[in-house]
C-alpha cells in the first residue's frame, strides 16, 4: 500500500475545493474526500494486519524513502507500525465526523473546508513520517490552519485564543526543532530507524531530551504548557475543536513517544520522575479545574488536559503495558472528545448558549443529541463498555508494574481523579439534560440532522468497538510498543 496517498488525497481534495464554484460542490467534495480518507485508513488497517499475519516482522511496514535535500541527508521517508495505524484510523474517523457536522457552515465555506483538509494532511503526514525533518515539516504545517479556523470561524474571544494557540504551538515546535538539530548534530542523520539502532551519546540525550519532550508536550497539553487548550478549544468552531482535541493533541503524545522516548531512552529514564510528576499534576489539576467550569466547551477542554495527562503518565512509566495504554488512551480520548465536542456543537448551534446553568431538560426535546451527550460523558468518566475504561485501565495496570513507590503513589493519585471526573460529568449531564425545561425558547429546537447523526454514529461506533473489544486495538499496538520498550531496556542495561 502506498502511504503517500494519505497525504496526497487530502491535498488534492483541498485543491479541488478551491476550484469548486459554489458551496454545495464544496460540501460534496469535502465529504467525498474525507470518506476516501476513511476508506484508505481502513484499507491500511487490513493490509497491515494481513502483512503481520503473514509473518512479516519488520518494525515498519510499507516503507518508502526518497532523498529530498540530499546534502543535508534529509529524506522523505514514510512507514507505519501498529501505533501509527491506530493514529491514522483515529484521524480519518475524526475528519469524517468533523466534515459531517460542519456541513452547515455558511460563512466562507470554501476556505473552511480547504483549511480543514489541509490540516488533516498535516496530521497524516506526521503519523507516517520516519524522518525527523519530514515529521517536523508536518508538525508545523498543522499550526497555521488552526489559527485561521479559530480566528475566522470561532466564537467568543477568538482572536486572543487563536493567537495564543498559534504562538504556543509555534514555541513548542521551536523547541522540537532545537532538539532535532541536536540529534542531527551528533548523528548526522534525520532517519528515525537509523537513529534508534545507534544510541546517541548520554550527554546529547541529557541535554536535548527536555527540548523534545517539552516541545511535543506543548502540543500534548503537558502541565504547565497546557494553557492554550481551554482557550483554543472553547473559541474554535465545532469541527476545529474536534480536530484540536481529537487529533492535534495526539501529535504531541505521539511525538513524545516516537521521537523523545524512542530515540533518547537513556534520558527518558533519567527524566522519568519529572514526567510522571507533571503528568500527575496535569491529571489532578485538570480534573479539579473542570469542576469550576460552567461553559460546556471549557468543561470538555479542561477534562482533555486531565485525560491527556494519562497519555503522558503512560509514556513516563516506561513499561510495555503502560505505553500500550497510553496509545489506547490517545485513540480513546480522540474519539470520545470529538464526540463530546460534536454534541456540544450541535447544542450550541441550536440554543446559542454553552452555559450549563442556562440549559435544562433538553433530553426530552432533543433525544438524539441528548443520548450522544450521555454516551460521550459516560465514556469520559470511564464506564466499562466504552473506550475510556479499556484505555485508562491499561494505563493503570502498566503504571502499577513500575514498582517504584513514588510512581505508584502517582498512579493512585491519577486513579483518584476518576472520582472527580464522575462529579463534573454527572453534574453537567444532569443539569443540561435532566430536570425541567429551563428556557422556554428551547422547546422549539430541532433534533440532530442526518449529517450530525451520521457523524455521531461513526464516532460512537469507534468508542464502543474499542470498549467492547479492546484486544483488537491492543494487539495492533502492543508489538510496536514492545519495539520501543526494547530500546528503553537496552539503554537501561
Amino acid at each position: 500500500m502506498n502511504l503517500s496517498l494519505l497525504i496526497i488525497v487530502p491535498v488534492f481534495v483541498s485543491m479541488a475545493i478551491l476550484l469548486c464554484r459554489d458551496a454545495k460542490q464544496v460540501r460534496i467534495a469535502a465529504l467525498l474526500g474525507s470518506a476516501i480518507q476513511l476508506g484508505l485508513a481502513f484499507a491500511l488497517f487490513f493490509a497491515y494486519r494481513a502483512e503481520r499475519e503473514a509473518g512479516n516482522t519488520a518494525q515498519m511496514l510499507f516503507t518508502y524513502k526518497t532523498p529530498w535535500f540530499a546534502p543535508l541527508h534529509i529524506n522523505y521517508s514514510v512507514g507505519v507500525d501498529g501505533i501509527s495505524v491506530a493514529m491514522i484510523l483515529l484521524t480519518a474517523s475524526v475528519v469524517v465526523a468533523g466534515v459531517l457536522v460542519s456541513l452547515s457552515v455558511e460563512n466562507l465555506t470554501k476556505e473552511f473546508f480547504f483549511l480543514l483538509l489541509l490540516l488533516s494532511s498535516g496530521a497524516y503526514g506526521f503519523f507516517i513520517s520516519l524522518d525527523l525533518f519530514t515529521l517536523f515539516f508536518f508538525l508545523e504545517l498543522a499550526v497555521i490552519p488552526k489559527y485561521l479556523l479559530i480566528g475566522i470561524w470561532g466564537s467568543g474571544n477568538k482572536e486572543y485564543s487563536a493567537t495564543k494557540l498559534a504562538l504556543m504551538l509555534m514555541g513548542g515546535s521551536a523547541l522540537v526543532f532545537v532538539g532535532i538539530l541536536g540529534i542531527y548534530f551528533e548523528a548526522g542523520t534525520f532517519d528515525i530507524i537509523e537513529l534508534s539502532q545507534n544510541q546517541l551519546s548520554v550527554a546529547t540525550q541529557h541535554f536535548f531530551f527536555p527540548f523534545l519532550f517539552i516541545g511535543f508536550g506543548v502540543f500534548g497539553a503537558l502541565f504547565p504548557f497546557h494553557t492554550w487548550v481551554p482557550d483554543g478549544h472553547s473559541s474554535a468552531p465545532t469541527a476545529a475543536s474536534m480536530f484540536l482535541a481529537g487529533i492535534s493533541m495526539k501529535l504531541g503524545g505521539y511525538g513524545c513517544l516516537r521521537v523523545a522516548t524512542y530515540l533518547m531512552p537513556q534520558a527518558a529514564h533519567e527524566y522519568q520522575g519529572i514526567i510522571i510528576l507533571l503528568a500527575a499534576i496535569a491529571i489532578l489539576y485538570g480534573s479539579f479545574a473542570t469542576m469550576m467550569q460552567t461553559d460546556l466547551k471549557y468543561i470538555n477542554a479542561y477534562s482533555s488536559v486531565s485525560h491527556c495527562g494519562f497519555v503522558l503518565l503512560g509514556i513516563g512509566m516506561l513499561t510495555k503495558t503502560a505505553i500500550t495504554g497510553a496509545v489506547m488512551q490517545m485513540v480513546s480520548h480522540g474519539l470520545m472528545t470529538a464526540l463530546f465536542f460534536a454534541a456540544i456543537g450541535m447544542l450550541y448551534s441550536r440554543t446559542h448558549t454553552r452555559a450549563v446553568e442556562k440549559m435544562g431538560g433538553l433530553l426530552k426535546i432533543t433525544p438524539f443529541i441528548g443520548t450522544v451527550f450521555f454516551i460521550a460523558g459516560l465514556c469520559s468518566l470511564g464506564l466499562p463498555g466504552f473506550s475510556g475504561f479499556a484505555a485508562e485501565m491499561t494505563v493503570f495496570m502498566g503504571s502499577w508494574q513500575n514498582n517504584d513507590m513514588w510512581y505508584r503513589l502517582a498512579t493512585i493519585a491519577a486513579c483518584a481523579s476518576i472520582v472527580v471526573t464522575a462529579v463534573y460529568i454527572l453534574r453537567a449531564l444532569g443539569k443540561v439534560m435532566m430536570g425541567p425545561l429551563l428556557d422556554q425558547h428551547h422547546a422549539e429546537i430541532t433534533d440532530a440532522g442526518w449529517n450530525e447523526k451520521l457523524a455521531a454514529v461513526i464516532l460512537i461506533a469507534g468508542v464502543v468497538l474499542v470498549g467492547v473489544a479492546p484486544l483488537l486495538l491492543q494487539h495492533l499496538i502492543s508489538p510496536s510498543a514492545d519495539a520501543i520498550m526494547q530500546n528503553v531496556l537496552k539503554a537501561a542495561l
Binding site: A70, P71, F138, I144, L148, K158, E159, A166, M170, V178
Partner: protein, 471 residues
C-alpha cells in the same frame, strides 16, 4: 584581446547595453512611459537567458574580475529580483515622469553590485560598492512631490557616505599592513595582528551598515518609509542580497584566518539584530517601516547561517538559498504594498483590514509572503530559515540556536497581525476592488510559484550546495 572575456562578463555587458539604449531613447525624446516600461522589461527578461550561455570561469584583468558558477547564479537571482520589482511597480511607473531615469539608476546600481560581487580586489570592490549605492540614494528621492522622500534620500546618502568612509579606512589599514589589495594575497597575509583586526572591524562595520545589522541599522526604517515602494523593495531585497553574498565571500575567504575573531562578533550581532528587529517590528503600524524591521530581523538569521563556518559550503549554500527564497517572499509582500499604495496611497496595517473580502488575490499573496517570511511550511521560507539554523548549529552554538528559535515565535506574532487584519478583522471602509495589470499578475504569479515550489524542487538545493563549494 581575447573576446571570450566579454562572454564571461555577459551580465555586466547586457546591463550596460540596456542602460545605453535607454539613454539614447531618452535623448531621442519620442518614447513614452509605456514604451520604456515594455522595452526595459523585455530586455531584462531576455538577459536572464544569458545564464544558459556557457562562459569561461576564472579570474580576469589580474584579479579585478572573477566569475564562477556560484556568482552567475547569484547574479541571476538579483536580476530576477529586479525584474519582479519592475513588473510589480507598473501602476506607479505608469504616471511617473521619469521612467527612463528610474531604470537607468536602478540598473546602474545593479551593475555596481555585479562588479562588487565579482571583484577579487578590494579596490574594485569599493568601486562597485559606490556605483551601487549612489544611484540608490538618488532613487530614494524619486517621489518628487513628497518631502519625506527627499529626507529619505538625504539620510541614505549621508549614512552611505559615512559607512563607505569607515570601510575605506579599514581598507587602507589593511593595505598598510599587507601591501596588497588582492584577495588572494590578503587571504594569506591577514594573520590577525592587532592592526589587522582593527582594520577588519572597520570593514566589518561598513558591511554591517549596508546590511543594517544592529547597532548600524538606524537609517533603515526612515529610508524605507520615505522612499517609493519600488526603491524600498530594491533596498531591502536586491541591495541586501548582494551585500550578503559579498559579505560571506569576504569573511570566508579574505578573512578566513580570522574565523575565531569574527565568529563571536557574528554570533553576538546576530542575537542583537534578531531581538531588536523583532521587538521594534511589533509596534509598527506603517507597513514599510514594519518590513524595515522585519528585514532587520531576517538579517539576524542570515548572520547565524554565516556564522556556521565549520561547514563552509553548507553555510554558503544555505545563505544563497535563503536569499533566493527571500527574494520571492519579500517581493511578493512589497508587490502588494506597491499596488495598493500606488492606487490608493494607503500604507498602514489599519488600511488592510478586511482586504480578503474585497481583494482575495492580493490578500492571499500577502499571506503567502508573510508565512514564508515567518518560516511556516509548506512555504519556501520554512526551508530557508531552517537550513540557516542547521548551518549555524554546525559549530555547536546551542544558545544561539535556541535564541533564534524563540525569536521565530515573536516574529510569527507580528506577521500574524497583518494576517489577522486581512482575514479576520472587518473594516468599515474596506479598500475598493483593484484590477491588476498583466505585468503585475506575471510578477505575482512568479512570486507565488516560487514561494510554493522552491521547497519541493528536489535538486535545487543540491545544485546550490554543489556550486557553493567553489565560492
Amino acid at each position: 584581446m581575447d573576446l571570450s572575456i566579454l562572454i564571461s562578463m555577459k551580465f555586466e555587458m547586457a546591463l550596460t547595453l540596456i542602460i545605453f539604449i535607454l539613454l539614447f531613447l531618452k535623448i531621442d525624446g519620442r518614447a513614452g512611459n509605456q514604451f520604456f516600461f515594455r522595452i526595459t522589461n523585455l530586455l531584462l527578461v531576455l538577459s536572464l537567458g544569458l545564464y544558459f550561455l556557457p562562459a569561461r570561469y576564472g579570474q580576469f584583468f589580474s584579479g579585478m574580475f572573477r566569475t564562477s558558477p556560484l556568482l552567475e547564479f547569484e547574479k541571476v537571482v538579483l536580476l530576477m529580483a529586479t525584474i519582479i520589482i519592475s513588473l510589480s511597480s507598473y501602476h506607479w511607473l505608469k504616471n511617473f515622469n521619469h521612467v527612463a531615469e528610474f531604470y537607468m539608476m536602478i540598473l546602474s546600481s545593479l551593475l555596481g553590485m555585479f562588479f562588487m560581487m565579482s571583484s577579487d580586489n578590494l579596490l574594485m570592490f569599493y568601486l562597485g560598492l559606490e556605483l551601487s549605492s549612489i544611484p540608490v540614494a538618488a532613487l530614494c528621492n524619486f517621489d518628487l512631490d513628497k518631502k519625506i522622500s527627499s529626507e529619505a534620500a538625504m539620510k541614505m546618502i549621508l549614512s552611505s557616505a559615512f559607512s563607505s568612509a569607515i570601510l575605506l579606512f579599514g581598507v587602507s589599514l589593511i593595505y598598510g599592513t599587507t601591501g596588497s589589495l588582492d584577495y588572494y594575497v590578503l587571504s594569506r597575509a591577514v594573520v590577525g595582528t592587532p592592526l589587522q583586526i582593527m582594520a577588519f572591524i572597520l570593514i566589518f562595520s561598513g558591511f554591517a551598515f549596508k546590511l543594517s545589522v544592529v547597532p548600524f541599522h538606524l537609517w533603515t526604517a526612515d529610508v524605507y518609509e520615505g522612499s517609493p515602494v519600488a526603491v524600498t523593495a530594491f533596498l531591502s531585497v536586491v541591495s541586501k542580497g548582494a551585500m550578503a553574498f559579498v559579505f560571506i565571500t569576504t569573511l570566508y575567504w579574505v578573512f578566513g584566518n580570522l574565523g575565531g575573531t569574527w565568529y563571536y562578533m557574528l554570533a553576538i550581532l546576530a542575537v542583537v539584530t534578531m531581538i531588536i528587529g523583532n521587538l521594534f517590528a511589533l509596534r509598527q503600524s506603517n507597513l514599510k517601516r514594519f518590513f524595515a524591521f522585519s528585514s532587520i530581523a531576517q538579517v539576524g538569521y542570515l548572520l547565524i547561517g554565516i556564522s556556521g563556518f565549520v561547514k563552509a559550503s553548507l553555510s554558503i549554500g544555505s545563505v544563497v538559498y535563503f536569499v533566493l527564497i527571500y527574494v520571492f517572499s519579500n517581493l511578493a509582500a512589497f508587490g502588494v504594498i506597491s499596488v495598493i499604495s500606488a492606487l490608493t496611497g494607503k500604507e498602514t496595517i489599519e488600511d488592510y483590514k478586511g482586504l480578503y473580502r474585497s481583494n482575495p488575490t492580493l490578500a492571499l499573496l500577502m499571506a503567502l509572503a508573510l508565512f514564508s517570511l515567518a518560516g511556516i511550511p509548506p512555504t519556501a521560507g520554512f526551508f530557508g530559515k531552517l537550513f540557516l539554523l542547521t548551518a549555524g548549529s554546525s559549530t555547536g552554538a546551542w544558545p544561539l540556536i535556541i535564541i533564534a528559535s524563540l525569536n521565530l515565535i515573536i516574529s510569527l506574532y507580528y506577521y500574524l497581525r497583518i494576517v489577522r487584519a486581512m482575514f479576520i478583522d472587518e473594516s468599515s471602509e474596506p479598500l475598493a476592488k483593484i484590477s491588476l495589470s498583466f505585468s503585475e499578475m506575471a510578477a505575482f504569479l512568479l512570486c507565488a510559484g516560487g514561494i510554493l515550489s522552491i521547497g519541493f524542487m528536489k535538486g535545487l538545493f543540491e545544485v546550490i550546495f554543489n556550486i557553493s563549494g567553489g565560492l
